[in-house]
């Protein structure tokens, strides 16, 4: 059975990809993911802001208390060649690329143009097979318009694409008012893949301690609807590969995404819940389903239920919403 697919120009032996997560924070974890059976690994994200923050904290603590008291003008050995940038991340890329046979895709989040350019270049030089731009953030400034945010995404992509030759994917926020148009603009800016969608930390409130809890729970199958919708809508209409992420609990969700038109399906939650070897379970599940449904290759099934391919395309449109509401019965009290 042919499960091979192509994601952002990278041939994959099957569509199950490990998305950015703590599992890829060490070489040991990366090896476990490969052994577990994923077809590619998106490394955990490198955050420019975090590096800056850590550097500032590092410099602050290094200087803290120094030049204050005659007997102790410093408290640490003089800083020799301390890693002040993304060296350990780059080092992990280098080691991962050597250690595993599957594509290694770096993930990057920056806050400055210099950061995007500089880090993307270094990631490419370290040997990553691809780069996912994890443009992560919630714009809280009421003075910033949607148009400006869209332009910001396009600018970042354009900047990075002009810097590196490796394929570049963009992990998207679900909050664009015209997702199709946005996808088109990103296509024009050179995106090799779009990943739908980023999940944002949505804090909770502790009502006893009156504290905001910055928690993030693992995704649940119910969350696949939104990315599923947009993958189905975009499939076949834009050139970049489509990566699906969020809500994969078992093979069922993977198959749904593939039917909608995803080129690759990413998961973290399932691998965290069940361990990296669950990737093989997912692949096996796809095979069983394809076998049972008479699909010999992934290409045949991919996009089979996409917007452009199904007879009742309105199922993916607004009418769908009305129908669902109409059918909804208020449960008896």
């Amino acid at each position: 059975m042919d499960l091979s697919t192509n994601y952002m120009g990278l041939p994959l032996k099957h569509p199950v990809v490990a998305s950015a997560s703590p599992l890829s924070e060490s070489l040991h974890g990366i090896r476990r993911l490969e052994d577990g059976g994923v077809a590619a690994i998106v490394l955990f994200s490198l955050f420019e802001e975090q590096i800056r923050h850590e550097n500032e904290a590092f410099s602050h603590l290094m200087a803290s208390g120094s030049e204050s008291f005659a007997e102790a003008l410093s408290y640490f050995p003089a800083a020799a060649d301390y890693r002040a940038g993304p060296e350990s991340y780059l080092d992990l890329i280098r080691r991962a690329v050597e250690a595993v046979d599957i594509p290694v895709i770096a993930s990057l989040n920056c806050v400055s143009d210099e950061g995007w350019i500089d880090y993307a270049r270094q990631i490419e030089q370290a040997g990553a097979h691809g780069l996912e731009l994890n443009i992560y953030g919630i714009e809280t400034d009421p003075a910033i318009s949607g148009g400006e945010i869209e332009q910001h995404y396009v600018d970042i992509l354009t900047t990075v694409k002009s810097t590196v030759r490796i394929p570049v994917a963009l992990k998207l926020s679900p909050f664009f008012s015209a997702m199709g148009h946005m996808a088109r603009r990103l296509e024009q800016a050179g995106a090799d893949a779009l990943v739908l969608f980023n999940r944002f930390y949505q804090p909770d409130v502790d009502i006893e301690r009156l504290e905001v809890l910055p928690s993030l729970e693992l995704s649940s199958p119910g969350e696949i609807r939104l990315p599923l919708l947009w993958i189905a809508l975009l499939h076949g209409k834009i050139a970049p590969s489509l990566g699906a992420t969020t809500g994969v609990a078992g093979a069922g969700e993977v198959i749904k995404y593939l039917l909608a038109g995803a080129d690759a399906v990413m998961t973290t939650s399932a691998l965290l819940r069940h361990g990296p070897s669950y990737a093989a379970v997912l692949v096996k599940g796809i095979e069983h389903w394809m076998d049972a449904h008479g699909f010999a290759s992934l290409a045949l099934l991919k996009g089979g239920m996409s917007h452009g391919r199904i007879a009742n395309a309105s199922a993916y449109e607004r009418a769908n919403y009305i129908k669902v509401l109409e059918a909804f019965q208020v449960p008896p009290v």
Partner: protein
């Protein structure tokens, strides 16, 4: 001549640079002010920097200077070129080996940043007491006066030592030279090679112990030959002066810098000549040159080879015209006929038959200033018909009348030298910025630069004063600036506290960092400051540096802003050039950190120029603000006369008569010094508070106090005084107040972190919260005044066994100068609360002796009865023995008192003697009853005549049980004092040891100790410590009769309290190891207690108690007080810079060491668990506790 590089270095680096390049082995031990030399050597070795022999020297930190000297001796005896760096007591600990090294004619150089010796008090500052103490060892002594000379003499001493086989002490003035930054010419490697003859090195190796051609060295000799053996070395010493001069001449040919054994400066026909060595020689040289230009016939002999003292060379250096000679020594030999240089000169002239009048005097002890005015006074004295001999200069001696008067206004500094003074906080980066300015100007312009930095005696909120000179010629003025053309005040509130313009010369530029703009600032200045600005015609500039820094994205870092201002208005360089150079420097410093950091700094520079304003100075002062007195009028007489003067920075003016004759100072003086160093302070919310006492328990500065009292007392309370009903049963109509001493608070925030009570209505509000101090200040002052009138709670009504109860015990250790958020002081304060009125403390040198005993004000205080901790510091290495001495004395005098009681029984009230002799004294109420009995006894004794009664009276206080504590850090307990501590623990005597374990040498700046954990970075363990920390607890447990506890207040305050009380109650030796988070861990100190908790949670610091009393009851004496590790070691460790540094510098090494460290934690835990589950029979029995 090889091309030379000019650079700016501090003296220590200038010396270490040469010593490192020549030697193969370096064994050291950290001691101020020499530590930097060893640290640099270690750093260079870690970086793989080779010496001139093409290999990387071995640098070894030892457990003491005695150990370092032993290792040096061994390395020398086996043929390695070996050196060490030390000072003061450290040099003294090397003395036995120095005799051996010299007696065996072994070439070596000990580089000494010369420092005072602890006598009536310790001093870290510079004089020649230490080097004088090693004069008899057989080491030659060569002295340097400046950074350049120290660099050069480091080489010359080594060359002469190898040529002569005589070991050398090369010394230079601690701090004044060791810490001065100055421009110098570096000696090229080629020139070092030209000076160090490889043949001599090979001869040194050939003399080494070697089993391939063995001999014996180090024999024991008898009366028949020892004497003659001592005399065999004479020819070597006789040749030495010539050898040294030959090396000087050779060096001059290589570098152009010519030195002589005795360098004469001044009029060739001088009649009055001073003789001096060390940095003071430069002051005299400058003064002599100045006076010479005015026609005075004066000169100075600068001594370079101080020992052996070459009579012919000295006499030859003196002009024949000399009629009077003044010899200046920077030390005191009480009772001697004179100090060493003086007696050498007298002897030399006597032996030579010359007859100029010679007087000797002392100057500059403990870095006391030696200025041109003082130098002139000495030269003037020589012109008097009866000059004063054995004089002192620089102080006012109104007791023995030794001092010479001098005219403080005498100035000789030339106008073309820019002289700038900067007042800053340690935390604001002022010193760092000035060092950077010196580098910029010294290394990229032809100008010369000099910097010297004066630090505070406190570790928190410390002030710094930078003395910076720039000029067209080498700057050889080793004294503080008395007449500055530029004054930078980097903290606005300084102008309200200290006279920052005292040394502003007429027409000076004054730059003030001020939140008030050019139109407003004038009215905010105190009247004396306004008057000084007008009188001295000062050009006054302001900048709101905090605002500019914040707007430039620099956060609170104002140093770049203030530095830019200095360059813009000081005139040291043309403005445009100056700004360009600052930007170059920023690019160099921050380039690696990324373009945005550079950009922010550039923005700060540009914003600075746009926000720097000159203030229009009115013709008249208008302010009604006055400088407040240093202490309030109710302070005691001594504090008014002496302490307040020191606090005001005018201690130099105190006459000899003002000071105690034997180093005895009154307790409890910090209470008079309201330092107001924090703008934010805790504020109490009585309605939310659950009165748990946690905040006061952890407060490092004893600024949180609790009392309960009848609510009727509130009738007199000032408005706004906070209280709440006490929430304990059995206390009707009783109020509770938590009072914050806001003026003494350092703003560390530990109290807020530890507070468990939160508002159910307002997010983030706790029962104690940090608030801006200014709006609270007046209210809190009134509240504190009232609070202090409330009676201290009766100790017998307080529950000692709980944290909640302990808050009502009065701290007798308060407002110390320890770092904000210090992890040690809460334990120390707790000791004072629990046992303070009968507490004797022997305190090892270290942080705790500095925050505990550094003048001007000290924190150990007394209760309302006048009782309180009696505290002393002997040395670093001997504290256990010192404290044991307290015990022996107490035991002896207790026995004497009991004996006299028996003898006087017939004359004393019936029953009293037996009651006293048999009194139990464990609980507070029992102790109180015994105090009452002793008071009755003393009263009865007043009426009894006779020697026995007087004798008993003198020791009667001993009948109340004394609590003897030996306190110190891990440097003491694990390293230098380890053997002594071991011996004392093994003595079985009732002493209690509190080890404030920061796992590193904190006081001297973060050097590795044997307590430093595996995988942590420290100085001398830059690649991470590869060995696990010593388990001192298990070592002590092995004795069987030692009470041992490991505590961490942040992990379990209740256990900490219990352990200290058990230790004290146990009538044998006790050892309590207290985890003390520290600034040297590289943490946000506000999270210190959390880190303590994580240290325990990870198993790095398991809490335990070993109580031999349980063993005697056949129970398991070993109790584990913390649960199984619940987090991985790295989850605790990686919050700290000491571990993070390695992960950043050497990730693989870090990973490796952390894995090993985790194994150690796991294995250690298994061991402890096994011990905790044994039966009592499986522990060593002991013979009981009847040791007294």
């Amino acid at each position: 001549m090889h091309p030379t590089t000019e650079t700016t270095l501090e003296g220590n680096e200038a010396v270490a640079d040469v010593a490192y390049r020549i030697n193969e082995v370096c064994a050291i031990y950290p001691i101020t002010p020499s530590s930097t030399m060893a640290e640099l050597a270690d750093q260079w070795a870690a970086e793989g920097r080779p010496n001139i022999w093409g290999n990387v020297p071995l640098v070894m930190e030892m457990q003491s200077e005695g150990g370092a000297a032993g290792a040096v001796h061994g390395a020398l005896q086996t043929g390695a070129l070996t050196t060490t760096f030390t000072a003061a007591q450290g040099l003294l600990l090397m003395i036995p080996n120095m005799y051996k090294i010299a007696g065996e004619l072994t070439p070596a150089v000990f580089h000494v940043a010369a420092r005072s010796l602890a006598a009536q008090g310790l001093s870290i500052f510079g004089d020649h007491s230490d080097v004088a103490a090693v004069r008899p060892t057989g080491f030659a002594q060569i002295a340097s006066a400046s950074v350049q000379e120290a660099h050069d003499m480091a080489l010359l001493a080594q060359a002469a030592s190898l040529e002569s086989r005589i070991p050398f002490v090369h010394f230079f003035d601690g701090f004044r030279t060791s810490h001065e930054v100055n421009k110098l010419k570096l000696i090229a490697d080629e020139d070092i090679r030209a000076m160090i003859d490889p043949a001599r090195v090979r001869e040194h190796r050939a003399r080494a112990l070697n089993p391939d051609h063995p001999f014996i060295r180090g024999t024991a000799q008898n009366p028949d030959v020892y004497f003659q053996g001592r005399e065999t070395v004479n020819p070597f010493y006789a040749r030495l002066p010539e050898i040294v001069q030959t090396q000087f001449d050779k060096f001059a040919a290589l570098t152009g810098r010519q030195y002589r054994l005795f360098d004469y400066f001044g009029d060739p026909q001088a009649e009055r000549v001073a003789v001096i060595l060390g940095s003071g020689a430069l002051t005299l040289r400058e003064t002599v040159a100045f006076l010479g230009r005015q026609g005075e016939k004066v000169g100075v002999v600068q001594v370079r080879l101080a020992l052996p003292f070459s009579v012919p060379d000295f006499v030859a250096a003196l002009p024949a015209s000399v009629r009077a000679v003044a010899v200046l020594d920077r030390l005191k030999l009480p009772g001697a006929t004179g100090e060493p240089l003086y007696t050498d000169v007298v002897n030399a002239l006597a032996e030579h038959g010359s007859a100029p009048r010679v007087i000797g005097g002392r100057y500059g002890l403990s870095s006391k200033e030696f200025t041109p005015a003082m130098a002139k006074a000495v030269l003037d004295e020589l012109g008097k018909p009866q000059p004063k001999n054995h004089f002192t200069i620089g102080i006012r001696d109104d007791v023995s009348h030794t001092s010479l008067d001098y005219d403080e206004r005498f100035e000789i500094e030339p106008d073309d030298v820019v002289r700038a003074l900067f007042f800053g906080l340690g935390a604001d980066g002022t010193v760092g910025a000035n060092k950077n300015s010196i580098k910029i100007i010294g290394e990229s312009t032809p100008l010369h630069a000099q910097g010297y930095f004066v630090y505070d005696s406190k570790k928190s909120g410390s002030r710094t004063v930078s003395h910076v000179r720039f000029g067209p010629r080498p700057i050889e003025s080793p004294y503080l600036i008395r007449s500055a053309g530029f004054i930078g005040c980097h903290q606005f509130n300084f102008v309200e506290k200290i006279d920052v313009l005292e040394h502003a010369r007429r027409g000076a530029v004054f730059l003030l960092n001020s939140p008030y703009g050019p139109d407003e600032v004038w009215d905010r200045l105190p009247r004396p400051v306004q008057e000084r600005i007008i009188e001295q015609n000062i050009a006054f500039y302001v900048i709101d540096a905090s605002k500019v820094a914040a707007e430039s994205g620099m956060g609170g870092r104002t140093n770049t802003v203030m530095q830019t201002c200095f360059f813009a208005i000081s005139g040291v360089l043309p403005r445009e050039e100056a700004i360009e150079r600052i930007k170059d420097s920023i690019r160099k410093s921050y380039g690696k950190k990324g373009e945005d950091v550079v950009k922010k700094n550039f923005a700060a520079v540009d914003h600075t120029l746009a926000h720097l304003y000159r203030v229009e100075v009115p013709a008249r002062s208008s302010s009604r603000l006055e400088m407040p007195p240093a202490v309030p009028p109710e302070a005691p007489d001594f504090v008014q006369r002496v302490t307040a003067v020191m606090m005001a920075g005018a201690g130099d003016a105190l006459p000899v008569s003002a000071l105690p004759v034997d180093g005895t100072y009154p307790s409890g003086t910090t209470r008079w010094e309201k330092r107001n160093i924090s703008d934010t302070v805790p504020a109490w919310e009585p309605d939310l508070c659950i009165q748990c006492g946690n905040c006061g328990f952890v407060c490092p500065h004893s600024v949180i106090r609790s009392k309960f009292y009848p609510d009727s007392r509130l009738a007199d309370a000032p408005a706004g005084f906070k209280s709440a009903p006490i929430n304990a049963r059995g206390f009707p109509e009783t109020r509770y107040t938590l009072q914050i001493y806001v003026e003494d608070c350092t703003g560390c925030g530990l109290c807020v972190e530890v507070c468990p009570a939160r508002s159910p209505r307002e997010a983030g509000l706790k029962a104690i919260n940090m608030r801006s101090k200014a709006p609270l200040l007046e209210q809190e002052r009134a509240s504190i005044r009232f609070f202090e009138q409330l009676p201290v709670n009766d100790r017998s009504r307080v529950d000692f066994s709980s944290v909640r109860g302990a808050q009502f015990l009065e701290p007798l250790f308060e407002f110390s100068g320890a770092c904000a958020g210090c992890g040690e002081t809460p334990y120390v304060r707790l000791l004072s609360q629990l046992f303070g009125d009968r507490l004797l403390i022997a305190n090892a040198t270290g942080c705790s002796s500095i925050y505990g005993g550094n003048l001007p004000t000290t924190p150990w205080t007394t209760n309302s009865e006048g009782r309180g901790p009696a505290w002393s510091n002997s040395l670093f290495e001997d504290n256990a023995e010192f404290g044991l001495g307290f015990r022996l004395s107490a035991d002896k005098h207790l026995a004497l008192a009991r004996q006299r009681l028996e003898e006087l029984r017939p004359r004393l009230p019936a029953g009293l003697v037996d009651e006293i002799l048999n009194a139990p004294q464990l609980t507070e109420s029992e102790i109180r009853r015994q105090r009452q009995r002793v008071a009755a006894l003393k009263s009865a004794l007043q009426g009894i005549d006779g020697e026995a009664a007087r004798d008993l009276l003198s020791v009667a206080d001993q009948l109340v049980r004394r609590s003897i504590w030996l306190v110190g850090g891990d440097g003491w307990a694990y390293d230098i004092g380890s053997a002594g501590l071991d011996h004392v623990l093994a003595s079985g005597r009732d002493v209690n040891v509190l080890v404030l374990d920061t796992e590193v040498y904190s006081n001297t700046g973060g050097q590795m100790s044997k307590s430093t954990p595996l995988g942590a970075v420290a100085k001398f363990a830059a690649a991470g410590k590869p060995v696990a920390k010593k388990d001192v607890a298990l070592q002590a447990i092995a004795y069987g009769n030692v009470y041992v506890a490991r505590i961490a207040m942040g992990a379990n305050p209740q256990q900490a309290l219990l352990a200290l009380r058990e230790a004290e109650a146990y009538p044998g030796p006790s050892l309590v190891l207290a985890y003390s988070h520290c600034i040297a861990h590289g943490i946000d100190m506000r999270q210190g207690l959390k880190q303590q908790d994580l240290a325990t949670a990870s198993g790095h610091w398991p809490l335990l108690r070993y109580n031999p009393a349980l063993r005697q009851a056949d129970r398991n004496p070993f109790v584990l007080d913390s649960p199984r590790p619940r987090i991985k070691l790295k989850d605790y460790a990686m919050n700290e810079l000491r571990y993070q540094m390695l992960a950043r510098a050497h990730p693989a090494q870090s990973e490796h060491l952390m894995a090993l460290a985790q194994q150690v934690v796991d294995q250690k835990w298994e061991t402890y668990e096994e011990m905790a589950s044994r039966s009592g029979a499986h522990f060593h029995p002991d013979a009981g506790l009847k040791t007294q």
